[in-house]
Amino acid sequence: MNVTRINVNAQRCIGAGQCVLIAPEVFDQTDEGTVTVLADTVDGSAQGVVREAVRACPSKSISLTEG
């Protein structure tokens, strides 16, 4: 099965929280408001919502490495 690795850049992040709304099981916000991941990799149907989070992120702080 394909596994997708999730990379986030908390320095770039502007805390819009779109990723948390779209995929709360994968992304969270620290007390500072910036992105953190709850899962480093996803597979199966979760890949779709993670791609949606990448597309919605206003600061391009999430990237994916397709395995």
Binding site: G15, A16, G17, Q29, R55, P58
Partner: protein
């Protein structure tokens, strides 16, 4: 670099009775390059209409959000972004790195978790306004009785404005958003609000609470003067925009009742209406190519959010109101570092409003034909001056 002369067109406006964006946008998106247009004040700007190009404009470091640069566009009086040295803390007018200090100081206050804590207060405020409407008879102006007071009261909650002061706060904010207010009345109301906010800050310094104002003071990253500018900005940015989304969203749902309880309603209302279509004004500070067109340093740029959000290349059957679509990548809140700080609070407000209003008043209907409603066709923000309803 393309060299052909761009055409110049009249600034597009919405058609009477129409909730969708100006018809011209579709033609502009289909043309190669960009077009020039004259703003009502006579200055010339570049109109950017495609989703990808709008996102590029809002993220390119050669393009600035600061009105201190020569050539920065202005749309009407209300659209004039204050000069940063007029209101310290008016950080929508700052570029990185100055902007970054403000954004970083504020994002902990607007995380999904933090704004979620406001949900019970939002529900209480929404129910309170519905109680008042129902007690007042079987008709109402939904803008004056509901859409304007709800976000204003929520901002009071956020900032920690005591209940006894909310009437003063509310009355002055109403002046700012009322169509018939004169310039002098607006200036006086803004002045009163700034004085009040300064008083609020002094009060929170002595008696801190659990509100945003107190927390910003405690954090000490921003000065009290900057916090007062931030508070005024949050009020102005979060009030009429949200009110317009509420009032127009109710119209959309009354015209499309089958979607009333659909999960994607909030996102689709935001995308479809794009009330802040012309808000994100920019200027090039270096030569930059956008959408195949060379923009020179010092030239003004208007990225049209409503056009981006109706781009067929990005949103299939874009002209249809379809809450079942995935609309999350819309630019109704802008894009890039200036994307709306309060967006997740707005989502909670809209979700609570739509979920509560039609449940508590299931017979709600328009009391005026859609084409006769007093839309804000020429305003900086798209909205309604009034919304007569009955039940």
């Amino acid at each position: 670099m393309p060299t052909s002369d761009p055409i110049s067109i009249e600034f597009p406006t919405r058609r009477r009775g129409q909730l969708s964006p100006p018809d011209e946008y579709a033609e502009l998106r289909a043309r190669p390059g960009l077009v020039k247009s004259a703003l009502p004040n006579g200055s010339t700007v570049w109109l950017v209409t495609r989703h990808e190009d709008v996102r590029t404009v809002l993220t390119d470091p050669r393009i600035s959000a600061s009105p201190t640069h020569p050539g920065f566009p202005t749309i009407g009086r209300n659209g004039t972004v204050p000069h940063p040295d007029q209101i310290p803390g008016w950080f929508v007018a700052y570029d990185p790195p100055d902007h970054t200090r403000f954004r970083k100081a504020l994002i902990p206050e607007f995380t999904v978790r933090r704004v979620g804590e406001l949900r019970p207060a939002v529900q209480r405020i929404v129910d309170g306004r519905i109680d008042a409407m129902l007690a007042g008879g079987t008709t109402a102006d939904l803008v004056a009785a509901f859409a304007l007071p709800v976000p204003s009261l929520i901002i009071c909650e956020l900032l920690g404005v005591p209940r006894t002061d909310r009437e003063l706060f509310e009355s002055r904010t109403q002046v700012l958003v009322t169509f018939t207010s004169t310039d002098d009345e607006r200036d006086a109301a803004a002045q009163d609000l700034l004085l009040y906010i300064n008083k609020l800050i002094a009060m929170k310094q002595r008696f801190p609470g659990r509100d945003l104002t107190s927390r910003l003071l405690r954090a000490g990253v921003l000065t009290p003067k900057e916090i007062s500018g931030v508070a005024l900005l949050l009020l102005i940015a979060g009030h009429e925009t949200t009110a317009n989304n509420i009032a127009l969203g109710v119209v959309m749902l009354l015209l499309n009742r089958q979607w009333i309880n659909a999960p994607g309603v909030v996102e689709e209302v935001l995308r479809y209406l794009s009330v802040a279509d012309r808000v994100a004004l920019r200027v090039a500070v270096e030569d930059v190519e956008i959408g195949g067109q060379l923009i020179r340093a010092g030239e003004g740029i208007v990225p049209l959010g409503a056009s981006a959000n109706h781009d067929e290349g990005t949103f299939g059957h874009a002209e249809q109101f379809d809450p079942s679509r995935s609309a999350r990548h819309h630019v109704a809140f802008g894009y890039g570092v200036h994307q709306c700080l309060g967006q997740n609070l707005v989502r909670i407000e809209m979700d609570t409003v739509f979920g509560t209003l039609f449940r508590r008043i299931p017979t709600l209907e328009l009391d005026q034909a859609v084409e006769d409603l007093p839309f804000k066709y020429d305003g900086v923000l798209f909205g309604l001056h009034a919304l007569p309803v009955r039940w």
